[in-house]
């Protein structure tokens, strides 16, 4: 490590943080555009050509809006709730491998901030902190609809976390490691993306991911039609924007995790097939982004298509379908791992 060794992580963090924030704002545009096309509309068209500057206009609007704190709210909690929601969503990116190693200015630079040996567990634990933002927002607003919504949200997050974590264990057992980078490398060495090894895990994980990020059909916590706006009913301005950013950042986290675990992360498709080797000319991080984008698109697509589950049905799906399936999958995986 050179004397400037501390500089590299700092630069990486800056790049990732900014990239994520920009990606999040453009995710909003993507969602609006894709849903609009699905609904035979045009979506934002006014700000810039085809509305490409819309996210910037939105950001400026949210920044300049009056930030209202309700008179009877718990002011301290009301302020920290959005922060507690956004920060975990952002620091989860610390262990996501956007690519392998690259040579930049003659140096060997890893395209991830940290390769922690408990990477996957780190993501699970960090995202489990995000629930506080929602609970506290509901409580601190001192209002009935947000309270109901935050209860829904927290029950939902806790239940689906169980299924997700169990599914991750299946993948961990398959890969034999907890490190995100090592999981990708394991897929390279085994000559197969884990989606072909653990298809059930992918499905459950993605459904769980939808629930974790409060997306349709599990968007009960912000069901506008039932609970007006959900847990962020009383929020406005920048604090509202933080919840918004957190939701979309979480979607990107889920997509990135799914990409890393099941679709070979930064690897090109079929890296071991000789005549497909030309795909390796495209840099790894681009493959990663493309794969992530596919999943983000699926998120939006689902939102445009499906109605919403009811609270009790959602819990039933979580506890009576996903968790047993996850358990069975883990069981089978473990047996196969030991015997094969």
């Amino acid at each position: 490590m050179t004397s400037m060794g501390w500089l590299l992580p700092l630069v990486q963090i800056l790049i990732v943080l900014n990239a994520v924030l920009i990606a999040v704002t453009y995710m909003v545009l993507l969602e609006r555009k894709v849903i609009a096309w699905a609904q035979s509309r045009l979506g934002p068209m006014r700000v810039g050509p085809h509305g490409v500057l819309q996210p910037i206009a939105d950001a400026i609007k949210l920044l300049l809006k009056e930030d209202i704190t309700p008179a009877r709210a718990d002011k301290w909690l009301f302020t920290i709730a959005p922060i507690m929601s956004l920060v975990p969503a952002l620091i989860a990116f610390a262990v996501i491998p956007f690519g392998g190693h690259a040579r930049i200015f003659g140096r060997d630079v890893p395209l991830f901030i940290a390769d922690v040996n408990v990477g996957l567990l780190y993501i699970v634990s960090i995202t489990s902190i995000g629930v506080y933002g929602i609970i506290l927002a509901g409580y601190a607003s001192n209002s009935k609809y947000p309270l109901l919504a935050s209860l829904r949200a927290s029950a939902q997050l806790i239940s689906y976390e169980v299924a997700i974590t169990m599914m991750l264990v299946s993948v961990i057992v398959t890969a034999g490691t907890l490190s995100m980078v090592a999981i990708v490398e394991a897929q390279l060495h085994n000559h197969v993306w884990f989606v072909f090894v653990q298809p059930v895990a992918l499905v459950v994980l993605f459904i769980g991911g939808l629930a974790e990020t409060n997306r349709t059909p599990f968007d009960l916590a912000e069901a506008e039609q039932e609970l007006t706006g959900g847990f962020h009913t009383e929020y406005s301005g920048m604090r509202f924007a933080m919840f918004f950013l957190a939701e979309y950042a979480n979607m990107i986290v889920v997509s990135a995790v799914v990409t890393t675990l099941f679709f070979g992360g930064w690897l090109p498709p079929f890296p071991n097939v000789g005549w497909l080797a030309f795909l390796g000319w495209i840099p790894g991080w681009m493959w990663f982004l493309v794969k992530c984008f596919v999943f983000l698109y699926v998120f939006v697509w689902i939102r445009a298509t499906l109605p919403r589950y009811r609270y009790d049905q959602l819990m039933r799906v979580g506890w009576k379908v996903l968790i047993p399936v996850a358990l069975a999958n883990l069981f089978v995986t473990a047996i196969l791992k030991v015997w094969l």
């Binding site: 039609q225 499906l306 009790d312």
Partner: protein, 368 residues
């Protein structure tokens, strides 16, 4: 006081709430997410239309009827005009009756479009909403071409119609029918066999046929419970006795059946419109109406099948003044709304919006 002492949570759903379809207020008493009691509070959109009508001359009242069920103005116009015609025993020309039928069936499709869109939106399927509005726009275009207005048409007059249909209009209506027939499967693809949609609507808000009659439900909510009551069939008005159509009925009486009934009504409406266009007779569109409309003393009740149910007008004329002596409306939305507290008791908060949607109310008509 037990260890686990619980309070009921009282929440006000409305009058400002995204899915109470206007300014309905429902006071819900909740135990967790379960509704233990509900009071429906209405009157936020009361404009005194009935009383106002007693101070307007007979033709002016048509304008007021537009503003009752504002998503289905043509049927309100029709109901009122026919009541007065019955009171005055005016013969309406056959062409006018045919065009009235076409207009009210187009209106039924537009109203059901709006219902399906908002109902699906309440349950979270947002795309259906925009698909329905896309088709509703086409109907509004047809209305605009006919009478110049897109929402409050005042499209009928006592004794007939204000004007004949423009040339080529009938062909456009046929084209719309062909187009719309291909759009119904689009809605069905998104909803009818959708697992989540079924789970959200099946066995929710069940009401038996006998109960539905006892409460006074009419229209699709009644037919969804298996009672084949349709004013168009039972007491034909306009030109309905000249057309073939079926009255779809449900069996379970739940939200899903009401949904299926309305979807089938789309198809039946298309059937009626096509027959009417094909057999559209020539002739005048206004009957023999005196210059000064002053019905003889007497009273009458006349009902039509509006998209929401039985829309009845009870009008008393004293035979001397040129305003009604008494003007009273039996609005289907108001009567159907009575079922709501009964339906939602014991269900979850999320079902409340589904049920408000399934009985298809318009607050303009509830409060008048």
């Amino acid at each position: 006081m037990s260890l686990f002492d619980t309070d009921e949570l009282v929440i006000n759903m409305g009058p400002q709430h995204p899915s109470t379809h206007g300014v309905l207020r429902v006071v819900l008493r909740l135990d967790g997410e379960r509704v233990v009691g509900a009071d429906v509070v209405i009157g936020y959109l009361h404009r005194g239309i009935e009383k106002l009508s007693e101070h307007r001359d007979w033709q002016q009242i048509v304008m007021l009827t537009d503003r009752m069920d504002y998503v289905s103005a043509a049927t309100s116009n029709l109901g009122y005009c026919e009541t007065v015609e019955k009171l005055m025993q005016i013969e309406v020309p056959r062409r006018a009756r045919y065009i009235r039928t076409i207009l009210s069936e187009l209106q039924r499709i537009a109203s059901h479009n709006l219902w399906l869109g908002t109902h699906a939106m309440d349950i979270g399927a947002m795309t259906v909403f925009l698909y329905n509005f896309r088709e509703r726009e086409l109907i509004l275009d047809l209305f605009e071409e006919f009478c110049g207005a897109r929402l409050t048409y005042s499209s009928m007059r006592i004794g007939g119609l204000p004007l004949d249909i423009p040339s080529g209009w009938a062909r456009k209506v046929s084209a719309f029918c062909d187009l719309f027939e291909t759009k119904i499967p689009e809605y069905e693809d998104l909803l009818t066999h959708n697992r989540i949609w079924k789970e959200r609507t099946r066995n929710i808000g069940v009401i038996s046929g006998a109960d539905a009659i006892a409460i006074g439900l009419t229209g699709p909510p009644l037919r969804g419970s298996g009672v084949p009551r349709d004013v168009r069939k039972d007491e034909p008005y306009a030109a309905y006795d000249e057309f073939d159509f079926d009255v779809p009925i449900g069996s379970a009486g739940d939200i899903y059946d009401r949904y299926l009934v309305r979807l089938e009504e789309f198809r039946q409406s298309l059937r009626i419109i096509r027959q009417a266009i094909a057999g559209l007779p020539e002739g005048p569109v206004v009957g023999k109406v005196p210059r000064l409309i002053k019905p003889p003393a007497g009273e009458t009740y006349h009902a039509i099948e509006s998209p929401k149910g039985e829309l009845g007008f009870f009008i008393v004329s004293d035979g001397r003044s040129n305003v009604p002596y008494r003007f009273r409306v039996r609005p289907p939305s108001f009567c159907n709304l009575q079922a709501l507290p009964r339906l939602i008791k014991g269900h979850l908060v999320a079902d409340v919006v589904a049920m408000i949607g399934s009985i298809d109310i318009v607050l303009g008509e509830v409060d008048r």
